[in-house]
Amino acid sequence: MALIKPGTGWDLVLLLIMVAASYYYIRKATRGEKLPDLRRIPAVDAIYEGVGRSIELNKPVHFAMGASGGQLYTTLVSMTLAGLAFLRYVAKLCARLGARLIVHMPYQAESIPLIEGVVREAYREEGKLEEFRREDLRYHGYGSLTWSQAIAASFAREGVGLNLEVGIFYSDCPISLEMAKIQGGMNIGGTGRWIMVYAFAMMCDYCFLGEEIYAGAAKVSDNPLMVSGIIVEEVGKFFTLILIAICLILAALGVNIETLLSF
């Protein structure tokens, strides 16, 4: 019997490289050594500005992870976690600066404990636990249709200063983002699902293009351990580029790439 399943060899190589890189950089980060600098992501800086704007206008800050942004046990869990990192950041900012935060929760009820935990903890860390309001964690029912309507209604009735949407988005963001825009809100957001990124690119004042949400999540966490994750990603990207180059050379030499990459 083979030790590993056929066709998974290269996957294992990539995984091991990423694991090794994670180990190396997490250790480096815990020791407090200096990690490489990251380029700026304008959308991250804009969140602070947006919260300030909301206070000036005396309008609430809205946060959403998508109608189905609470997926914990599916292949999209990474985006849920990235969304939660942004939620933690914006909740802390709101608590510190005194803005009202309204969270539009996804329909997956199993994610609610995590969402409330993150918001409550953010308020606690800022020493403003008494300002945490559970009724501002809104649940809008099942599916993107009711969610889109409810979020649009909330913008119209309660106003919107900053609308931050990071997480898993299907056909729900085109309505919520445009409605925030029409109500005079400032939009910041992004998703890892490439097929929906166009809506963010077109409707947001600042947007995270695809995987920038992960980098952004690490940046807003203000934690060297999270930042080390981006460096790990970079290792993966360089590996991919090198793999493409090597495959091209081998292909030119007549090696069958299809069989090579499916060992």
Partner: protein, 211 residues
């Protein structure tokens, strides 16, 4: 047309108009539809999940599959979030869920979205039979490589990397535009379908049909 179909035409049209009126401004008709549908969809969500729970846990447990008591118990722990002093208990079910999530996510990403994509990009070139195919495959390769360089975070986008990242950005924009167009026309069809419902079922079917 029987009574229920006619009533359906009215109810359906009312809800269609209720949603469309959101584009004009917030109004009582929209608010009615929006509040009602929240209740309706929560009922649907609960029904759907209770059915799952019955089929996947309660019936198997009654047939002697005792291990399923554990996930039911873990699921109940989720409700401890409502009490501040016991809320930490909800970390257990969340941990199982996220653990399973990461466990199914990582393998899927490796094969389908990294190695598989690299493989496709290279094989497109090696398997091209005409010059046209070959040129296209090379354009795709350039697009993939430059798009990856656009996403590099540890290097400032200047010099060669700057040019490459710019080209990558242009490819990404093409992709965003095409995605927009696909969805736009698809939603247009949906809009036409709704107008057809009102015109054919309500106006032609009920109002004119009854007259």
């Amino acid at each position: 047309m029987n009574f229920w179909d006619a009533l359906g035409a009215f109810v359906g049209s009312f809800f269609i108009i209720s949603v469309l009126s959101m584009l004009w401004k917030d109004n009582p008709v929209f608010k009615f539809g929006q509040q009602a549908i929240i209740g309706a969809t929560i009922a649907q969500y609960v029904l759907f999940n209770m059915k799952n729970l019955l089929n996947m846990a309660i019936i198997p447990i009654s047939q002697g599959k005792w291990t399923y008591i554990i996930p039911v118990f873990l699921g109940l722990l989720m409700y401890t979030r409502l009490s501040p002093s016991y809320s930490w208990l909800s970390r257990y079910p969340v941990s199982v869920l996220v653990g399973v999530g990461v466990g199914v996510m990582v393998p899927g990403l490796l094969r389908g979205q990294v190695i598989g994509q690299v493989q496709k990009t290279i094989v497109d070139i090696t398997s091209a039979t005409t010059t046209y195919d070959l040129i296209n495959a090379i354009i795709i390769l350039i697009g993939v490589v430059t798009a990856i360089t656009f996403f590099l975070f540890t290097k400032e986008h200047t010099g060669v990397l700057g040019v490459s990242a710019r080209i990558g950005r242009i490819f990404l924009m093409f992709s965003l535009g095409a995605n927009w167009a696909g969805e736009e026309v698809w939603y247009l069809t949906q809009m036409i379908g709704r107008l057809r419902f009102i015109v054919e079922k309500l106006i032609k079917g009920v109002i004119l049909g009854a007259a």
